[in-house]
Amino acid sequence: MDRWGRAVDCRDAALDPARVLRAVRDPHDDRVRCPRAAPVHDHVGFVAADAALNRRAAAAAVARSRGLRAPEADDLAAARKKLAAIEATTTDLRPVREQAAATAGERERLRERVARLRGEVQARREAGLDAEETTERFRAAARELSEAATAEAAATERLDRERGRVRDRYDVRERRLALEDEIGNLERAARASLADAVRPRIEQALDALGADPDDPPTHLWTLAAARVAVVAAPVVVTAGPFDASEAARWLDAPVVQL
């Protein structure tokens, strides 16, 4: 299909809105050739009765599209910079724990073997049998046990040492988590400030649409928000009181109507 212009009416073509929307937002998709979609398009670029929408986040995006800057922006930038500067090294001690457990298991296995062979040697001697071969096996096992005990001690010591080291690394991670929380709070506050800044304009637009500003249906709220936003890529409209060219004029943005 080959249609062009600022207001494109495709109501006759039974297109899938989700596919059209993807084509609009994907700069590499040539099926819809249009200016690149800005972040605000993710929020107000699709006007439909059943579109999922977080109104506060959308209003904040509308404010950003108009060049507004949140009062929290400087603090946010500073916190993000601090976070980027924190280097967290690994705290995963799994291989060390596994090694300590394996060497302990091996030592235990050999300890039992040595005890059994010692018993055998003794029993053979008491029975007046030749114990030389058993004694040799006993000695070999005892040597292995001694090596295993050394390995276990080394692995345990290493685990203790690494645990001590990891405690400091957890401090770093704790600082990072605190910063991440701070950033999350600032982002929330920034969204609220930005949303508050454009709310009167959105309510005014809702009023012009004849909608109840306290409880407008989703598609009218999106239309109102899209009018307040600065949108370059086409708004995909599947609901509302306008035809394509009316919508394009009202939104001051290109429109694809489905």
Partner: protein, 114 residues
């Protein structure tokens, strides 16, 4: 019991969900940490958390603390005496000076028996 402490937002969220879904194995919850029951299921949950967030989950095995067997007598007695006898703003170091109670450095350097 198993003390699980998380060190990232994702791990904290997983812990919260796990605690919500398995109340029977959660002894106590604190913000980004929780005490899990010393059962196979408590260990199962701790292992799952570690597997999903190997770098952001610390697990410690805890045991109840009996001050009459787990703390040396002089340590316990010093604590009791300090709480009972010291005036409000006396630091422990000053309280211990000239008494038989251990000084703070000795307390810090002395490991507890396992």
């Amino acid at each position: 019991m198993l003390l699980v402490v998380t060190y990232s937002r994702a791990a904290r969220t997983t812990l919260r969900n796990v605690c919500r879904a398995h109340e029977e194995s959660v002894v106590r919850r604190f913000g980004r940490a929780a005490l899990l029951a010393a059962t196979g299921h408590g260990a199962f949950l701790a292992c799952r958390l570690r597997e999903r967030h190997p770098d952001a989950v610390q697990v410690e095995r805890t045991a109840p603390f009996n001050e009459f067997t787990d703390a040396p007598d002089e340590v316990r007695e010093a604590a009791v005496a300090y709480e009972r006898e010291a005036t409000k703003h006396t630091p422990y170091a000053r309280f211990a000076t000239g008494t038989d109670h251990p000084d703070p450095d000795r307390l810090r350097d002395r490991p507890l028996d396992a």
